[in-house]
């Protein structure tokens, strides 16, 4: 059984059909890319999976359970984390605090014990910190620990966002254009990290991506969207050679 199953999802904004019956399956432990030209409905699909939008029709199943239309804040709890195309960080907090917020989900203490800072809270804080440091080591963020996010270059902000998503310890990680705005070296780093996240942490990855080099390097399977429907689905190589995909991206040859 696939980890994430999407069947016949429709989403309409006024007269615009953003998604017209999209279906795809993401296998456990894979990196799955969604590609498509601008306006193909990739981000809408992401927002539907993440329940920021509610799909008009169709079902989204995660681990066999229907998650269509849940509250967005329940997503991390069932094991889905995401990053945004244009980073959504807590700008007036340090890198450390941003990533620590990823551990909010795993807290076991209540408000009163936190106000009194009981030993249990202290222990939990130290545990969270250890976990955060592990993630910082993985993504090379140690140098920026105490820096305010707003002052950091865009590439680093993207890493911080990835780190924060990892701190949630998700089973499925949704990456919305992880390489946009990165320079070639940062893109290379990103490819390694995605590989590491998949292999070492065992997290399944679904990514929307425009950079074909990144897609070829990290994704085993790819789904191509155009005008809100799937035009090709299969291994990355197959999809890249698919005539419909080439037509959608490069236009008709005449």
């Amino acid at each position: 059984m696939a980890l994430l199953e999407i069947q016949g999802v429709y989403k309409q904004f006024g007269g615009l059909k953003a998604l017209a019956g999209v279906g795809l399956e993401v296998e456990q432990g894979r990196a799955h890319a969604v590609i498509g030209p601008n306006g193909a409905g990739k981000s809408t699909l992401f927002n539907c999976i993440n329940c920021i939008y509610r799909a008009d029709r169709g079902t989204i199943r995660f681990k066999g359970k229907d998650i269509t239309g849940l509250a967005p804040h329940k997503m991390p709890r069932i094991g889905i984390a995401r990053t945004f195309q244009n980073v959504e960080l807590f700008r007036n907090a340090t890198v450390l605090n941003n990533i620590l917020l990823g551990r909010y989900l795993h807290k076991r203490t209540n408000l009163v014990s936190e106000a009194l800072f009981l030993p249990s809270v202290k222990k939990q804080e130290l545990e969270a910190r250890r976990k955060v440091e592990e993630i910082m080591d993985l993504l090379d963020l140690q140098a920026y620990r105490e820096r305010m996010v707003a002052q950091l270059p865009f590439g680093i902000q993207k890493s911080v966002e990835l780190a924060r998503a990892l701190a949630l310890e998700p089973e499925l990680l949704l990456l919305d254009e992880p390489s946009s705005g990165l320079n070639p070296e940062e893109k290379q780093d990103l490819c390694f990290w995605i590989e590491d996240i998949k292999e070492e942490l065992g997290i399944t990855i679904l990514l929307v991506e425009h950079d074909m080099r990144v897609v070829t390097e990290v994704a085993e399977r790819t789904t191509a969207l155009d005008f809100g429907s799937v035009i090709a689905d299969g291994t990355t190589e197959e999809v890249q050679r698919h005539p419909d995909v080439i037509r959608a991206f490069l236009g008709e040859e005449d």
């Binding site: 804040h73 991390p76 909010y104």
Partner: protein
């Protein structure tokens, strides 16, 4: 020059970063505790009042500074605290030590009531809604005569601990200082635990907070309730200090006063709350004293004091958006790097307060 090498994760959690800081706070504590022995009644009273406003400012900062929800109705929570204590001790004859926590709890409960409709509002609309709550409370105080005494007000005696009466200004001062210390500690604990981080998360990005699994509605309601609790306790301390409370003590001007405190002191900082509360309380005294030296046509104007507050607020927003706390940080930095600072280190950078206009 001072350079700190951190060796354990504990050092980021500790109350005092190092021994030098601890020594400074110890010194402050000593100064505060010998203060009533050397100072006159006038100054003791003013410092006690500052202490009470410190608790309000801490509470309001949790709501506005940390969680980003503005409130122009905090005088109402202050009133609920004050009248709870007044009604329970004077009319019902209960012990002050039971009435004070109840004052906080009843304010927190009304905070919950205000928070639920407020969840759907933000920015200017939230300001208007909370202001409306403030006005409603003013009317309730005037009309609900059996509890509040209406426009005649309510007399409240100072409490005692068994046979030791706190009726002298000095003794009451110690009670307030202890309470301030307790609330500073509570606030500090909140800010270094997941709860405080969730507040900041809701302020900075609601979308991102949701993707971190933070329930927005619950966190906002929590912030409202905590803030109201602080303010209610402060109200409960305020009533016995001035002995007599009436509707005039809890007007919209008082709410604005609280907002000015945290903006001038520094939004989203504990130090800032304290600086702001002390500064504004002493400023109003300063205005009162300096009236003798101001030409008559100015000092007899209605709302002269409010105008000065407005001027101070404007200057801070324009020139030091981080408030007195921002200045304080810069001063500390200057001493830390001395003599290696550069001229441009402290050059003013154009930045604006995070508000509606930056969204």
């Amino acid at each position: 020059m001072r350079f700190k090498l951190k060796k354990t994760y504990m050092e980021d959690i500790k109350l005092f970063p190092d021994k030098i800081d601890m020594a400074w706070y110890g010194l402050l504590l000593i100064i505060l505790s010998i203060f009533p022995l050397v100072a006159g009644h006038y100054w003791i009273y003013n410092l006690t009042l500052s202490g009470i406003y410190c608790i309000v400012a801490l509470g309001l900062n949790i709501l506005t500074g940390f969680t980003g929800q503005i409130s122009l109705g905090h005088a109402a929570f202050f009133a609920i605290g004050a009248y709870s204590v007044g009604y329970l001790t004077t009319t019902l004859g209960w012990s002050y030590w039971i009435a004070l926590p109840l004052a906080g709890i009843s304010a927190a409960a009304s905070g919950l009531v205000v928070a639920v409709p407020a969840l759907r509002l933000s920015g200017l609309y939230l300001a208007i809604a909370t202001m409306g709550f403030g006005f409603i409370m003013e009317q309730v105080i005037v009309q609900w005569k059996s509890v509040t005494g209406g426009a005649n007000g309510l007399l409240i005696n100072r409490p005692s601990i068994s046979s030791w009466s706190l009726s002298s200004d000095g003794a009451y001062y110690y009670l307030v200082i202890v309470m301030v210390a307790v609330f500073v500690l509570l606030t500090k604990n909140l800010t270094r635990s997941p709860a405080g981080r969730a507040f900041v998360a809701v302020r900075d990005s609601e979308v991102a907070a949701q993707t971190m699994g933070i329930p927005l509605a619950r966190v906002k309601v929590q912030a409202f309730a905590i803030s109201a609790f602080y303010t209610g306790i402060a109200g409960g301390l305020f009533a016995p200090l001035i002995n007599f409370i009436g509707p005039d003590n809890f007007t919209i001007a008082e709410s604005i006063n609280f907002i000015v405190m945290i903006i001038v002191g520094g939004l989203g900082s504990i130090h800032g709350s304290i600086f702001g509360a002390v500064f504004i309380t002493l400023l109003s005294e300063f205005i009162r004293v300096s009236k003798d030296f101001i030409p008559a046509f100015l000092r007899e104007q209605v709302g002269f004091q409010t105008a000065v507050y407005g001027l101070v607020l404007m200057q801070f927003i324009l020139f030091e958006p981080m408030g007195i706390y921002g200045r304080w940080l810069k001063l500390k930095y200057l001493f830390q790097v001395f003599p290696l600072y550069r001229k441009d280190t402290f050059r003013r950078v154009r930045r604006f307060q995070r508000s509606e206009r930056t969204r």
